[in-house]
Symmetry: C2
Subunit: 235 residues, 2 copies
DNA sequence: GCAATAAAAATTGTTGACAATCTTTGTTAA
DNA sequence: TTAACAAAGATTGTCAACAATTTTTATTGC
């Protein structure tokens, strides 16, 4: 329940940049790291129990994905997308994800579909139990997992970045308590996937993304800051 | 004509990572840095006249875009895409660039079209003069400039990365002397752009990308290495 | 009490030295 | 001559100390 337990928990230790970047991605997706949160080097060093260089490299990578802003001599902050940037993110998703879904139809194995259905099960379970954080995490991850099924590393990486940024956008512009997605639309996607109907999958995805975009309002801006030590504790 | 002139030329100096990354992108696009070329830190330090840290950060950024491979304890090498990766790059381009072209139709100003036509002029001039390196550079850049017209930073960045990787792929798999694109197809794109016909622009782009993909053969693999000091000299 | 200023603390940026690893060179023996 | 091995050299990875900047705290004057 405290940051340093990171090291204690898996004493094997020495996480590489990829792991650190991924953990921060996760934290952003789950909205445990709201936009604007300062990511100080020393705090991250303690949280992940690694040297400062490792952290700096991780922050650079996150900045190159627009997940954090690196301000000269002032430190790293979780990115706060502007409304213009938000529009770009959604446009990019509308361009890419329907095609990702198409590719997923082409390449989905029975095991893939099973995995997605299992995921959907978790999603609706979290929804029923009112576990908001899990709902957020799982609904975002659905898109990433679908991109995995598409078996294109470039697009997978892209979707991961876009989903993460969407989480930030929803955190800033969405109505409080709004999740990323409605799981029933995810169910429709899986259903079309099983029927191997590329056009329909693409169409549902397009509509789904439009739906998400509808749920946000580009005016009000919440701010927030959290304690890093707690964010990265073992749950 | 030699590396250290870099500093002498613009003594203002102190290039930041963005500039260094961009210059290496350029060099890769123009195939002055063939796949497999070792990018040793000391050589780059001399070439750009910056400290090692700056170079290491730049290499990390390039690695995160799959332009260079970072091998532990062995150094950085210009990426040598496998045939599988090549397929992923082309698939990604087919997914993204037709939509980029569509967006460009939506947002192109008269000035934008003029810029593109001017660029096309340079392209055909280079083609006529048989200046292969310029042909390569300009034909790749056309796609990047089109992405600029689309006014979406995410997609612009994406196209830049994909075009650069395509240069590597052509260098490895393409017939020797093959350029990136045929400029007449670029002319068709501009023409459709002027008519504001989104569907047609997308269709031409799709066909154009297929054409590029056709020109490569996924069997033979050339190797090469060059002298860094010459590559980054002022032309 | 409040604003402005100055000192102190904390944080980030950079550099250089050292350790670890790989590569090359040279030597020896089969 | 070739292969295996050892030493030397070069390159990359890491760390700790220092410099530069920002943020916080304390003080002074109004």
């Amino acid at each position: 329940m405290f940051g340093s337990s990171e090291k204690v928990a898996d004493g094997a230790g020495d996480l590489n940049e990829e792991v650190i970047v991924d953990r921060i991605y996760q934290a952003v997706i789950e909205q445990r790291l709201p936009p604007g949160t300062k990511l100080s080097e020393s705090a991250l060093c303690k949280a992940f129990n690694v040297g400062r260089m490792r952290i700096r490299r991780s922050l650079l990578l996150l900045a190159s994905r627009n997940i954090v802003d690196l301000q000269s001599n002032r430190g790293a902050y979780v990115s706060s997308p502007t409304s213009a940037e938000a529009r770009e993110v959604f446009e990019a998703r509308r361009c890419i994800e329907p095609n990702v879904a198409r590719a997923a139809v082409e390449r989905a194995t029975a095991a893939d579909i099973e995995t997605l259905e299992e995921h959907l099960g978790w999603e609706s379970a979290a929804h029923r139990q009112g576990d908001r954080q899990q709902v957020i995490r799982l609904s975002g991850e659905f898109h990433v997992k679908l991109a995995e099924v598409a078996r294109n590393h470039i697009m997978h990486r892209m979707v991961k970045e876009l989903v993460t940024r969407t989480s930030l956008i929803i955190g800033l512009f969405g109505a409080p308590g709004t999740a990323n997605c409605h799981d029933d639309e995810h169910a429709d996607i899986i259903s079309a996937l099983k029927q191997r109907d590329q056009d329909q999958v693409a169409q549902i995805m397009t509509h789904h993304l439009q739906h998400i975009e509808t749920q946000i309002d580009l005016t009000a801006r919440r701010n927030a800051g959290v304690d890093l030590t707690n964010v990265f504790s073992d749950e």
